[in-house]
């Protein structure tokens, strides 16, 4: 019988799922992904997790709780760094450890360490460690990884074109994020900013994307800006940004603000997110300078949907009025 590997649909799932899924399948494992986040999963997470942590971490605990009796092992990589001299959020650094100490009975956890802070060569070791759970022959592990990498590259390419192609990998993922490849009306494009696990999880952000689409707005996310371009802009900060997430979020926001291709920014942040408290400040200052409307949606496990609706509608109304009522006549008479 094949080994069943569980992957929680949370955190880095939205960034790396094609890579992971293909890799494990090439090694002959059966991949089981937890369902989309729902109330039930959230409640399980809240019960298991330490109460000070942020919403996405609690949701992640819920997904692990769902998977733990259904699979032989759960894949929770410890992604310390994915880029030279950069880090991830401290909570990502301790995620497998938090999980291990929060649950009493767990299946085996594949908690390989991915640390490319000093050198990219460490990736080879991480891949080998992950593969060694299923396969002894090194050659085969590398082959599986290379094949998975190809799929991952396609995924990234599609994302930069403006498609979030989650559907291709799992029928459970929703299509509401699909946007037209060519953006037509630049005056009605909103940049939805935030960590990928807040933006693409429709339960965490309470269907924000769907709401905006229904109101007739086009959506851009940070992942739709090319990485190279984002890094160029992030390099303009007075101090080197040492979080990979920050490079993406700040770089994407700065480049789009500079391009003037967005009419507003909605930042979705989980309450208590440490990184966001820095990013919000940096993005908001820049947006203010460029006179681009900015709003912040803080979410936690108690947020009511009605309040979010009101705020989103008020924001979009304001954008419309801004366009309609602006007479473009100079005040200097």
């Amino acid at each position: 019988m094949n080994i069943r590997v569980g992957i929680p649909r949370s955190m880095f799932y939205f960034d790396y799922i094609p890579l992971w899924k293909r890799f494990f399948e090439c090694l002959g494992a059966e991949v089981i992904i937890s369902p989309r986040t729902n109330k039930h999963i959230l409640n399980r997470g809240v019960n298991a997790c330490v109460d000070e942590s942020c919403l996405p971490v609690k949701v992640f605990h819920g997904h692990v709780d769902y998977l733990k009796d259904k699979v032989d092992c759960i894949f929770i990589p410890k992604i310390i760094s994915t880029y030279k001299r950069e880090y991830n959020c401290p909570k990502h650094l301790g995620l497998p450890d938090m999980i291990k100490h929060s649950f009493s009975e767990l299946p085996c956890i594949i908690d390989i360490e991915v640390n490319l802070r000093k050198s990219d060569r460490n990736l080879k070791k991480s891949v080998l460690n992950a593969g060694s759970f299923f396969e002894k022959r090194k050659r085969r592990i590398y082959n599986a990884f290379n094949e998975a990498l190809k799929q991952y590259d396609d995924y990234v390419k599609m994302m930069t074109k403006g498609i979030i192609p989650l559907r291709t990998f799992d029928k459970n993922d929703d299509m509401s994020l699909l946007s037209s490849i060519i953006r037509k009306d630049y005056n009605r494009t909103i940049l939805v900013l935030g960590h990928s696990y807040n933006i693409y999880d429709q339960f965490i952000n309470m269907g924000l994307i769907k709401k905006l689409k229904n109101l007739g707005f086009d959506i851009v996310t940070a992942e739709m800006v090319e990485e190279k371009r984002a890094r160029e802009y992030a390099a303009k900060l007075p101090k080197r940004m040492f979080w990979t997430n920050g490079q993406r979020i700040i770089g994407a926001a700065y480049s789009l603000i500079d391009e003037k291709s967005i009419s507003g920014i909605i930042y979705v942040s989980a309450f208590g997110c440490g990184l966001d408290s820095v990013f919000i400040d940096l993005v908001e200052r820049k947006a203010k300078e460029a006179r681009i409307p900015f709003t912040l949606l803080t979410i936690d496990e108690q947020t009511g949907e009605a309040g979010v609706n009101t705020r989103v509608e008020a924001f979009t109304d304001m954008l419309d009025w801004r366009k309609k009522d602006e007479d473009n006549i100079s005040t200097l008479w």
């Binding site: 001299r85 301790g94 101090k239 208590g272 820095v278």
Partner: protein, 366 residues
């Protein structure tokens, strides 16, 4: 150049004498108070952690007194502290203050800049001057910490614990009036003598509690509401896992290998947490294990609200509590923390430890 720096426990005493010895003019911020915090909170981001808010308050108060250069140590992730200098500069600029920031980033961020900053700051012309300055600073900080540590010990054993407070308060007051290192060293020696003359209780065995957690909240007395004094008056011997001395030893003196004490903590933490989580998360877990193994009665974890590394540590500490049957209480500090509620929790925790000890005693007799 009129130098100022944020408050960080007793560092300002050593820092003042140190920079004066190097020929710089120093304006230490007034003691952190409710007003400092209020000013800091007013102008800082809402969701940022507490240390930044208090620091902004410190800066504003020193700028009022005439400071124009702010000295800050830096770091490069993964904790938020690494980006403090940028955020603070933005805030002060927005308020219309034109101050210079000298940030001592680790050498990995560009050795040249560190060298330049150190040279201007230490008034040094060559590497030997820097070394000499460093040596002096090390002596000062060591002695300042020794006094803090000694007072914590004496307070637990003293017949009248308020006598220790009086000595320490006088020492802090007088230290502000001293000029340069020599005068301060004399004052410190006097204080040590006085502390050693405090009358102690005979045959008293105090409860021993280790303070662990985020470095700023452990060290800065305003933020942790003088936890050492509060516990000391209850007859508790307090040991702090992090002091300025330990920080300097780990990050500067034994660079790049790290100090012995910190490496020991990493080793102790290894069964629970193998890799770094930023800040002092790994040290917190290591210190908890260390205190549990060395016969302490309990530990108190301090953290500012939303501190990322300490939240990871907290979820892991639950296993340490289970494995060693070692009580650990977590106190979260933010700008709203009320003193009365805080006091109640401390008293309850100490009562619990006393009871636990009594139970153990009776069990062994029976």
């Amino acid at each position: 150049m009129k130098i100022t720096f944020p408050h960080f426990g007793n560092v300002y005493i050593a820092g003042k004498a140190f920079f004066e010895e190097l020929g710089q003019e120093v304006i230490p911020p007034p003691k952190s108070s409710r007003k400092t915090l209020e000013m800091g909170t007013k102008f800082s981001q809402e969701t940022i952690c507490l240390p930044l808010k208090v620091m902004i308050g410190n800066f504003l108060e020193s700028i009022e007194k005439g400071a124009d250069t702010i000295v800050l140590t830096g770091s490069c992730g993964p904790c938020r502290f690494g980006y403090y200098s940028i955020l603070q500069r933005n805030i002060l600029e927005e308020l219309g203050y034109n101050v210079e920031f000298i940030v001592l980033d680790p050498a990995g961020e560009g050795f040249k800049r560190l060298k330049k900053n150190a040279y201007t700051l230490f008034n040094a012309k060559n590497i030997r001057d820097v070394y000499r300055a460093g040596k002096l600073g090390w002596q000062l900080i060591n002695k300042a910490d020794y006094i803090t540590d000694l007072s914590n010990k004496k307070r637990a054993y003293a017949v009248n614990s308020h006598e220790v407070d009086a000595i320490i308060d006088r020492y802090y007051r007088d230290a502000e009036k001293t000029f340069r290192a020599k005068e301060l060293m004399d004052l410190m020696d006097d204080t040590i003598n006085e502390l050693n003359n405090v009358k102690l209780k005979d045959g008293f065995e105090p409860i021993r509690i280790g303070i662990i957690g985020e470095i700023y909240t452990v060290i800065e007395p305003f933020v942790n509401m003088e936890i050492e004094r509060k516990l000391g008056h209850m007859g508790v011997l307090v040991d702090k896992s992090l002091t300025p001395t330990i920080w300097v030893e780990h990050h500067v003196k034994s660079f790049p290998f790290g100090s012995k004490t910190e490496r020991l903590k990493y080793k102790k933490a290894e069964p629970y947490l193998k890799t770094l989580v930023g800040g002092h998360g790994r040290e917190t877990v290591g210190s908890a294990v260390y205190y549990a193994e060395n016969g302490f009665d309990g530990a108190i974890q301090l953290l500012p609200l939303n501190c990322m590394p300490e939240i990871v540590a907290k979820s892991i500490l639950s296993s340490v509590i289970e494995d060693y049957k070692f009580p650990i209480m977590t106190l979260i500090l933010d700008e709203m923390t009320g003193e009365a509620g805080y006091m109640t929790r401390l008293e309850a925790f100490v009562d619990l430890l006393y009871r636990k000890r009594e139970e153990k005693k009776w069990k062994s007799i029976i």
